[in-house]
Amino acid sequence: MEGQLAHIGAGLAAIGSGAAAIGVGNVAGNFLAGALRNPSAAPGQTATLFIGIAFAEALGIFSFLVALLLMFAV
């Protein structure tokens, strides 16, 4: 029973990946919206874009880690 509960928990933790997807999409979409208004300033901001994506993605990766822990360590 406990093992099955852990599997359900792992599935619930996967919701976090979806939330991270929303975050990453927000960052990339807003970057694109800004870049199309001022294309000449866009290349200088790609580093910022990737840093923003990385930070938004980190929390999704944490939820993935929780899922892995529930699947294999609990």
């Binding site: 406990e2 580093a47 994506i53 990766i61």
Partner: protein, 252 residues
């Protein structure tokens, strides 16, 4: 119960998608000790060898019209150099060799992991945590050596209202110590997830009805993984630069 569920999974797929990440000794036996030569050792060694081959062979016969190896080496050098200069500033260039080493090792470990039947060393938390902790300790020590107690100003947001500053200080301290966790898990998690997804589709390829779809899906995922391999190495390096900038210029 857990073992039964695992068994049912194993019955559905031909192999378990996480099997590819098992560390095995290369020369017989099953025990993995501190100094056992495993497949992880082999592929890390190959990654180092590949980096050395590219950079040493590429620049040994320098020509004005560069050979392909030379131009790849020069591109990589220029790419990382510009990244350090732009993100961390001119005074961080003394750390360029370290950051270049990190970038080249991660890129090569990621790309070697994409070869079928190979072993992705950077998909293991043990490997990436060591890399991230090295960065964390380097940055902390450099911060204290260069700025002394002023480095603590990183946690004390002087531009915020006085009442808010203690709260912000707690948040800043927590986020500082979570850095090595997120730094390492991002790299390992991304690669592990990608490779596991490819293996899951590979498991479906054995079922005749869905095999054309899964072969297409594997191809698409493989293309995405090539992109992810590079971007994750880039992100790891650029975050190192960002942390380094914080250490060199701690004022907010």
């Amino acid at each position: 119960m857990a073992t039964e569920a695992q068994g049912a999974e194993g019955g559905g797929l031909v192999f378990h998608p996480m099997d590819q990440f098992i560390v095995k000794p290369l020369f017989g036996g099953t025990d993995v000790g501190m100094f056992t030569i495993t497949n992880a050792t082999l592929w890390m060694f190959l990654a180092v060898l590949a980096v050395i081959a590219l950079m040493v062979l590429g620049t040994s016969r320098r020509a004005i019209v560069p050979s392909r190896t030379q131009s790849i080496g020069e591109l990589a050098y220029g790419f990382v150099y510009k990244m350090v200069e732009d993100v961390a500033g001119k005074d961080a260039l003394s750390f360029f060799p370290y950051i270049m080493t990190l970038f080249m090792f991660i890129v090569f470990a990621n790309f070697l992991g994409l070869i079928p039947m190979s072993f992705t060393t950077t998909s293991h938390f043990a490997v990436t945590v060591v890399l991230a902790l090295l960065v964390f300790f380097t940055v902390t020590i450099v911060g204290f050596v260069k700025n002394g107690s002023k480095f603590l100003g990183l946690f004390w947001v002087a531009s915020a209202p006085l009442a808010l500053r203690p709260v912000l200080a707690i948040i800043e301290v927590i986020s500082y110590f979570v850095r090595p966790v997120s730094h390492s898990i991002r790299l390992a998690g991304n690669l592990m997830a990608g490779h596991a997804v490819i293996k899951v589709f590979a498991g479906f390829a054995a079922i005749a009805v869905v095999s054309p779809i899964s072969v297409v899906a594997i191809t698409a995922m493989y293309g995405l993984e090539i992109l992810v391999s590079f971007i994750q190495a880039y992100v790891f390096t650029i975050l190192t630069c960002v942390y380094l900038k914080d250490a060199l210029h701690p004022s907010h």
